[in-house]
Symmetry: C2
Subunit: 210 residues, 2 copies
């Protein structure tokens, strides 16, 4: 049973509270938006994330005010994948296909050095398989300067729409195009800088983008 | 001068408070994340938006709890465009190129029917140029069922990164590939449904995606 906080009220047929559905969305995305309330006003900050089992991680500088503030109270971490625009015969029924996950909880600080290093590796290798072992090793100063937060997956909900247009039945005869326009996020051609031009990329693509 | 709420502390060289920079980001995006605090916990909801001059609009059902809650207090509306992944020779300096805009304020309800209808038209035509006039006209019931909120552009900040990798000088000799991998969001081939197969699309592309 979903908690009151995560129960989807609007269009509940689009909702899911299944862990496998959540994980598929989390593992397909790279960017999340974290909402927190440092003072009276909510602040929504975009950041990259990764998942390791039951925990979603994000990171940043030890000097970041966001990363200091978010361990004090519950945050909302939202991941949204926009899949297609949906065009109907009436303005009213136009829509979008999307997959969205919303997680609530109080993030914890990863303070163990070895665990922080392991998570940095997982983050790099999840984006660029095999890259970690090719890099200049992390220094102690860099490790200290990196703050990593984990949000244990507990309260969450998923909402998504898929499929084609849904018009009012009488409108299907209206003489205008209806259908969907897919939206694709893709990795483009890698652009090397001027150093080490002879080095091959460890992976020809981003792991999470086709 | 930016207010305290929007002043960027971390990496202030990436910040901008210029209206033209903001508008360019808003007009390049379609999806925003709105953070509000209905109770004690922040909630971050994804929604499509459009801009008309000094106002950013978003919409939804009159039954939506989000749209009811957001006129009571300030919200944070964030738009993020992820442009490229940045690969350096050390894990520490890996980064991403992005453009992000954050706006604060208390949204207002568009309660005038004619203005609401005009904004629905602007929303449709901003996504699909010329489509509005081809659609089955909006009914009074549909107009009543559509809630539109406006956020007047006032307090905002922009943060972005562009360009290539920035390694520690000694690391440029480390024998691993460095550069950027662009990320492109594109409209795919339109997929018509089974009705009105003879109708041509009014526009071959989404206005805001190349």
């Amino acid at each position: 049973m979903p908690t009151e906080r995560v129960r989807v009220r609007r269009l509940p047929k689009r909702a899911s509270y299944e862990r496998a559905v959540l994980d598929a969305i989390l593992d397909a995305g790279m960017l999340c938006h974290v909402g927190f309330v440092p003072d009276a006003t909510p602040v929504v900050i975009p950041t990259l994330y990764w998942r390791d089992g039951d925990v979603v991680y994000f990171h940043g500088s030890s000097a970041s005010r966001m990363l200091k503030a978010v361990t004090a109270h519950d945050v909302c971490l939202t991941v949204t994948l926009l899949d297609a625009m949906v065009l109907t015969r009436s303005a009213f029924h136009h829509s979008a296909n999307y997959r969205s996950a919303m997680l609530f909880g109080k993030p914890f600080l990863v303070d163990d050095d070895r665990e922080r290093l392991a998570q940095m590796q997982l983050f790099v290798d999840s984006l660029y398989p095999g890259r970690w072992s090719t890099l200049r090793p992390v220094s102690d100063v860099e490790l200290k300067a990196t703050r990593i937060l984990g949000l244990t997956i507990g309260e969450f909900s998923v909402k998504r729409r898929e499929g084609g247009p849904e018009d009012d039945p009488a409108d299907y005869a209206w003489p205008v195009w209806g259908g969907i326009i897919p939206i694709c996020e893709r990795a483009g051609e890698p652009e090397p800088d001027s150093h080490q031009p002879g080095c091959a990329m460890p992976s020809p693509r981003l792991n999470r983008l086709s």
